[in-house]
Symmetry: C2
Subunit: 75 residues, 2 copies
DNA sequence: CAACCACTATCGCAGATGTTATACTCTCCC
DNA sequence: GGGAGAGTATAACATCTGCGATAGTGGTTG
């Protein structure tokens, strides 16, 4: 039950605030549940492959630098 | 350890065959692992929210009727 | 035949997610 | 002050997923 070491959660939160979204709204946007976004931000879990894709896409859509360290997908 | 009741797996398989994809290729396309596609087709699990979105998007991209019973997303 | 090869089926386990519920912090407004 | 509401933090439990491994199937080719 230890938190994630890296600062991904911080970056998610920054991204979310840049977009002026609540955790619930961001969850809806990404297609995940509110609890999932909350867990990311507070470092309890790291996003799944698919979730990372959605986040990357969201960043690209708003011309914001990617916050994951992924290879880039077309979509 | 019982299988899923509905025929979602059958529809996934049909979709995949329409697109002439292997399980591995479809997994790559959707951003999930091969094992996940395989489990869908064989009824062991049902796709997550996010996975359903990807499937819906794939259908739309190829002008094929959606195989999930979801509300429609813009992306 | 036997040896490969691509594809598929299944398993186990750790970790991520969905759902539901509770509690806490603010801000606003009476 | 005190209530109401939005937003957030956390929890438990069942389910889904990723990864790695193993085994089966069908085709091709030597």
């Amino acid at each position: 039950m230890t938190k994630t070491k890296d600062d991904f959660g911080v970056r998610v939160k920054e991204l979310r605030e840049q977009l002026h979204l609540t955790q619930e709204a961001m969850a809806e946007t990404l297609g995940v549940s509110f609890a999932t976004v909350n867990r990311w931000e507070n470092g309890w879990t790291a996003p799944s492959k698919l979730a990372q894709r959605q986040i990357d896409f969201l960043c690209k859509e708003h011309h914001i630098a990617a916050i994951t360290d992924n290879k880039v997908y077309a979509r």
